[in-house]
Amino acid sequence: MTSTTHRPVTPAGPPGTAGPAAFLDLAAFLDLVADDLGLDFGPGAATAPLAELPGWDSVHLLRLVVLMERESGRRIPVRRVLEAQSLTEIHLLMEDQA
């Protein structure tokens, strides 16, 4: 795996501005996660520590790994997703894989 360059979070923007390639922008990513995990994210959820998200369970990370791999169609850095502290961090990892 290549190392991650820590870029600023890219908020949802017009097509073509989201990230270097085809992975979902942050808003769409949050929607997908909320839908699959059955969570309702309030404001600030993207950067909140995962453990503080309402309804969060450590098992959700395992589910996210499967979900992200399916959505991106690529192998993802499992360990780093498991170690991620926030959804934004996971989104960044995904963008870097794309």
Partner: protein, 628 residues
């Protein structure tokens, strides 16, 4: 987003999951994708996990919760979401108790374990191969595995004896991940490892054989349907040693155990016919156009029939609900060469054009079961939806136009699971079949009697007229089924008997009904001797069988013998290749078998109680021949 998931989120957002709990099973049943795998049950389970069982129970006294203690060697939390959904499908709330991570021995065996003081209904101990391989030295040999597996088995055995938690213990076989045999470079050692591991799993499976409080679920068939055992990355980083899909499949099995434990047993399978049990549409293609063998597609239906027969042999009652005319269905069930399942295999047959929910309710009533004991298999989604709506409680199994998948769909949910089969279970279908035959014969009897009265049948009994002797001779020649001795008499001999020089008694029966005159249809020949009357033979035309004419003939004869002061009437039945139908005729009218020598069976009637002429028959007095 699936409609179900959206609806569950809505209910959750409105805080109505608990107040509307009683509607959840129907909501889940409506989403067939939950069973077919299009929708991950875990997704529904995650939403339903928000339900507080205590809050539901406080509101709804009919609700039922099961307390399931879950422990294991590695990460087992992924079992909870799918288990929540699978239980909810059957109306069961999950009250989960999670053990301490990796501490299954302490959880189950120590008085201070995680489950101390709780009373679980089920204790699910999820083990994986690491429970044995984790204890191996590096490098290891097959002998080391054998030893570690033996030690693990001893621990599990001891646990079944000495565990501190109550409830039914559910264990699983331990799948062998590919990376273990592949670490052995020689094929003989790999084979040996496979054998050692299977011997361990086999002994584990046998643990439940003689214990009522242990169930061991074989994961191999579940893996054969879709693995993998695990994702090595998640195994490595998160101790998730059994994959989410495998745990989801396991959750369905555990839910089946919980269903049995709470008495939610399904007892009868109701089958659609066209495109479900056979290929084709009977009302359009005719009996020749349907198939369940002989063609590729037909054979796929045959596979389903064999599977259904297998279920029936273990006590599952079978019934039919089909949109068809009844008669052609019964004929196909009786006679079609392709069918393995026959009319007598079904405890109830509903073939008509009524809505199917009415059929299902009727079947439930006939079998004395609740709707929640029925499983309905139909390839038409509209029929399934109609039954779910109109006959709530019936489990509907989604199948489509691919018959090769029918059996797998039927078996997927383990609807008919039970902990241990009894002889009573195996005999159940036979008992229900007998009941159906009794019911039908009673129905037939009453409708037949009505039919007879409606027919306005009449009978006239007396000596033959001269011009009738040819017809009488012909009757004795042609009558096979109702000819008590097989005797056939030429016209001349009949004429001699009719003259009655030796006390002969020749009586004929003429009959008709509101549709017309049948003419001479029956006869009997008697011979008076030494105070008794010998009944030589009785003949009756097949055309009028089962109209009571034969009874009327005999009643007349017996009445006359009694009036003449005779002490008895003797008769004889001689079996022929065709007259078995008449074998019970004499006994049915009060004749008793005698020990008298001679061929066939001898009978004697003591004339104490003489049968009456059946009430539906109008007895006409013959006009004397002279007056003709």
């Amino acid at each position: 987003m699936s409609g179900l998931i959206a609806r569950l989120r809505e209910l959750r957002a409105e805080g109505r999951l608990e107040s509307d709990w009683h509607e959840i099973p129907a909501l889940l049943a409506e989403e067939e994708g939950l069973v077919t795998g299009e929708i991950d049950p875990a997704r529904a389970g995650r939403l339903l996990a928000a339900v507080d069982p205590a809050a539901v129970l406080a509101r709804d006294p009919r609700a039922r919760a099961v307390t399931v203690a879950v422990t294991g060697r590695s990460t087992v939390g992924e079992l909870i979401d799918p288990l929540t959904a699978e239980l909810a499908r059957h109306g069961l709330l999950l009250n989960p108790l999670l053990g301490d991570h990796g501490a299954w021995l302490a959880d189950l065996g120590s008085p201070a374990g995680a489950f101390a003081g709780t009373e679980p209904d089920l204790v699910v101990c999820v083990l994986d191969a690491e429970a044995a391989f984790g204890a191996l030295p590096t490098p290891w040999r097959v002998a080391d595995v054998e030893q570690a597996a033996a030690e693990l088995l001893r621990r599990i055995e001891r646990l079944t004896e000495e565990r501190t938690t109550g409830g039914l213990l559910v264990l699983n076989t331990l799948p062998l991940p590919a990376w273990y045999p592949r670490q052995l470079v020689d094929f003989h050692a790999r084979a040996r490892l496979g054998a050692v591991w299977r011997e361990f799993n086999a002994r584990l499976l046998r643990l439940g054989e003689h214990r009522a409080d242990v169930v061991v679920i074989d994961l191999d068939p579940l893996l054969a349907e879709g693995g993998p055992v695990c994702d090595p990355r998640l195994a490595c980083y998160a101790e998730a040693r059994l994959s989410a899909p495998l745990l989801a499949a396991y959750a369905r099995e555990v839910a089946a155990v919980a269903r049995v434990l709470t008495g939610r047993l399904r007892k009868a399978l109701v089958l659609d016919l066209d495109q479900t049990l056979w290929d084709g549409v009977l009302s359009e293609d005719g009996p020749e156009g349907i198939a369940a063998a002989g063609t590729l597609r037909g054979a796929a239906f045959g596979r389903l029939q064999r599977g259904v027969a297998q279920l029936a042999s273990q006590g599952v009652l079978l019934a039919v609900s089909s949109k068809n005319d009844e008669q052609p269905v019964l004929e196909v069930l009786r006679e079609h060469p392709d069918l393995l399942l026959r009319a007598e295999d079904f405890a109830a047959v509903q073939a008509n054009w009524r809505p199917k929910d009415a059929n299902l309710r009727e079947i439930a009533e006939q079998l004395g079961l609740g709707l929640d004991a029925l499983v309905f298999l139909d390839d038409n989604p509209a029929e399934r939806a109609q039954v779910r709506h109109g006959a709530p409680g019936v489990a509907t199994v989604p199948i489509d136009e691919e018959p090769a998948l029918h059996l797998d769909a039927l078996l997927r949910d383990g609807w008919f699971a039970t902990l241990r089969l009894t002889e009573e279970d195996r005999e159940r279908p036979a008992r229900y079949r007998a009941e159906r035959l009794r019911r039908e014969s009673a129905e037939q009897l009453s409708t037949h009697r009505e039919f007879l009265y409606d027919l306005a049948c009449w009978v006239e009994i007396g000596p033959p007229r001269g011009h009738e002797l040819a017809r009488l001779a012909q009757l004795t020649q042609r009558t096979n089924q109702f000819n008590l001795t097989g005797a056939r008499l030429p016209q001349a001999e009949l004429a001699a008997h009719a003259a009655g020089p030796d006390g002969d008694l020749l009586l004929v029966a003429r009959s008709g009904d509101r549709f017309g005159n049948h003419g001479l249809v029956g006869a009997l020949l008697g011979r008076r001797a030494e105070g008794v009357l010998h009944l030589e033979n009785v003949w009756l035309s097949c055309r009028v069988l089962a109209r009571g004419i034969e009874e009327a003939l005999l009643a007349t004869l017996l009445g006359r013998a009694r009036a003449e002061g005779r002490s008895a009437v003797h008769a004889r039945y001689l079996p022929t290749p065709k007259n078995h139908r008449a074998a019970g005729f004499y006994p049915s009218l009060g004749f008793n078998p005698t020990a008298q020598a001679g061929p066939g069976v001898g009978y004697r009637h003591d004339l104490r109680s003489v049968p009456e002429i059946p009430g539906h028959l109008q007895l006409r007095t013959p006009t004397p021949e002279a007056a003709r």
